[in-house]
């Protein structure tokens, strides 16, 4: 049980850090950013590239976040603003940005993937309440938790954060209050890109990096955001992430690992049924 909880919570907090940016853009910018997973992948590869050239790992994190902000700005100007006038246009343009980013990563680093230099990855493991936790996962957990805490402080305790929330809940009121919707929307996408890249850089040393790993991140972010009822509500996102993380750990440890994803997504279907309001009753 302790092992299950430790695995689930560490995975869940990492997933929450990834999902935050997606939920932010969906709720406040009001578009589904399907390039979000690509930003996660870009951040991971930036961290890897700098680490390979001897830059300390903790310095690669802000660098990855800066590149992520730049990626967010590219997404805003080249995908979201160009796609908003066509039904589902943003869906296609953000997916196109994801395809371009994936192709660029594959061209630079190859399709087979890379792993972090072993000397930069903390070895050994910790014992927590009888459960074993590899040091590298503990590091990722702490960094993800700190990121989430900083985001919470920035959003809940600053005027800027409250303005973003107002823009998301009532854009007309925000405009009447003199807020520049366009500029704030751009800022939101840029911040989300930075957060995604930071989450990618935090997760990068844990396993194999491939150009397609951003796709998995997008799937997880999508599922968590839906479970959180598409709201940029930090507690909801954290709970949804923990549900997914613990669900994955449960299936992996207690049931057949081959069917891990299938059973987790079956659980997601059940959860969605109970969280999403039907459009009509039984006819």
């Amino acid at each position: 049980m302790a092992q299950l909880l430790v695995n689930g919570i560490t995975a869940g907090v990492g997933l929450a850090a990834i999902a935050l940016g997606f939920a932010m853009v969906l709720q406040w910018r009001r578009v589904p950013n399907f390039a979000h997973g690509a930003a996660v992948g870009v951040g991971a590869y930036v961290s890897y590239s700098l680490a390979v050239y001897g830059v300390p790992y903790f310095v690669t994190l802000p660098a990855a976040a800066l590149v992520g902000i730049l990626f967010g700005l590219i997404t805003e100007f080249c995908a979201i603003r160009l796609g908003v006038f066509m039904t589902h246009g943003v869906l296609v343009t953000t997916l196109a940005i994801a395809v371009i980013a994936r192709a660029a990563l594959a061209a630079i680093y190859g399709e087979n993937g890379v792993i972090f230099p072993p000397k930069l990855v903390p070895s050994g493991h910790l014992e927590l309440f009888g459960a074993v936790l590899p040091r590298i996962q503990a590091q990722a957990f702490i960094l993800s938790a700190v990121t989430i805490l900083l985001v919470w402080v920035a959003l809940a305790k600053t005027a800027r954060g409250r303005r973003y929330a107002l823009l998301g809940s009532n854009p007309i009121a925000a405009e009447i209050c003199g807020m520049d919707r366009t500029r704030m929307g751009t800022e939101i996408v840029a911040i989300a890109g930075g957060l995604a890249a930071l989450a990618g850089a935090i997760a990068a040393p844990v396993g194999l990096l491939t150009p397609g790993s951003g796709g998995d991140a997008l799937v997880n972010a999508f599922v968590i955001t839906i479970l959180a009822q598409s709201r940029m509500d930090l507690p909801r996102i954290i709970i949804a992430s923990l549900v997914v993380g613990i669900g994955e750990a449960f299936v992996s440890l207690r049931l057949n690992a081959d069917f891990q994803q299938a059973l987790v997504y079956a659980g997601v279907i059940v959860a969605v049924l109970f969280t999403q309001r039907p459009n009509y009753g039984r006819a």
């Binding site: 589902h88 997504y265 009509y280």
Partner: protein, 314 residues
């Protein structure tokens, strides 16, 4: 508007002429194969587009239904020695049953919930196609699927398979055209547009939507059977996330209002990577740029692009 309606038969005739004549104008067997793939993907894209148009809900499990049909037909042909037609029937049935089961659950949820449930169902089927080694032959895929045999003739060439897929597509379009004009079709439209109004009119919303969703899955299953016979192998890759992206792009580019819109999307999405093959590994990146360009040019009020980019009309 009247002028447009008068021109519609001319447009349709022109498209039919191009569709029938193109394989004879193109000699390359490679490009004939690409045309067959376009026709097969068109069948799936048209079904998805109509599901979006009628039910106002975005299903994200079309590749899974196609893959399920492909596996069902492959098993029927290879292990039980069935010919293509009954195998395609089994493929359609498998896709319909799967869509009905998922629909029974998904239509109890909201629009977002519907998308995520169908997405999760797609992921479940991907996982099962990898994990159920005994049935699906695992990640390597189910190989050795024979080419289509019809009335004693083997349709091995891309051209013959293209015409078969085109015939199925034509039947599908005719059926959809007739359905749109039927009472049941109009009822389905009302359910999509305004569920409350539909309920007030006594339309059985839930069961009608499940039935429409299942019926639209049948051609997708047949497209899967065709795809399996065309490639000779079915692998979990057919059900994967990339395919979801591809088929969504087909529908978004072609639109959902016109019956033949998704066909144009299928032509763009299937043939563009082939045109860009000379670019090598950077082909996907250029494909992404072209997708953005298509959206920019296809979007209404495109003349506002520059001001939009500058933030004036965001």
């Amino acid at each position: 508007m009247v002028g447009r309606e008068r021109l519609a038969p001319l447009w349709s005739l022109g498209l039919v002429a191009v569709a029938l004549g193109a394989p004879f104008a193109i000699e390359s067997s490679y490009w004939q194969g690409v045309m067959a793939a376009i026709a097969i993907w068109s069948i799936a894209a048209v079904s998805l587009a109509q599901a979006v148009n009628w039910m106002m809900r975005l299903s994200l499990m079309t590749p899974a239904l196609m893959g399920l049909g492909a596996y069902a037909a492959a098993i029927a042909q290879v292990e039980h020695g069935w010919s293509f037609l009954p195998a395609a029937g089994i493929a359609a049935l498998a896709a319909m049953v799967c869509a009905a089961l998922v629909g029974l659950v998904a239509f109890r949820s909201s629009h977002w919930g519907f998308s995520i449930i169908t997405f999760a169902a797609n992921l479940i089927l991907v996982n099962l196609s990898i994990s159920l080694d005994d049935i699906t032959h695992g990640p390597g895929g189910y190989a050795g699927i024979p080419p289509v045999q019809l009335f004693g003739r083997s349709l091995e060439s891309g051209r013959s398979l293209y015409f078969l897929a085109l015939a199925i597509l034509a039947i599908q379009l005719c059926a959809l055209w007739a359905w749109r004009r039927s009472v049941a079709g109009r009822s389905a439209r009302i359910v999509g547009e305004d569920p409350q109004l539909a309920q007030a009119l006594g339309i059985p919303c839930y069961s009608l939507q499940v039935c429409v969703f299942a019926a639209l899955a049948a051609p997708v299953g047949i497209a899967g059977a065709l795809y399996g016979s065309f490639r000779g192998v079915v692998s979990p890759e057919l059900l994967g996330f990339t395919r979801i992206v591809d088929i969504l792009a087909m529908v978004m580019i072609g639109g959902t209002k016109l019956l033949f819109g998704p066909i144009l999307g299928a032509i763009a999405v299937t043939s563009l990577p082939e045109w860009l093959r000379f670019l090598g590994p950077s082909r996907d990146g250029v494909f992404g740029l072209v997708l953005i360009l298509i959206v920019v040019l296809a979007a209404p009020r495109w003349r506002w692009r520059v001001s939009t980019l500058m933030g004036a009309r965001s």
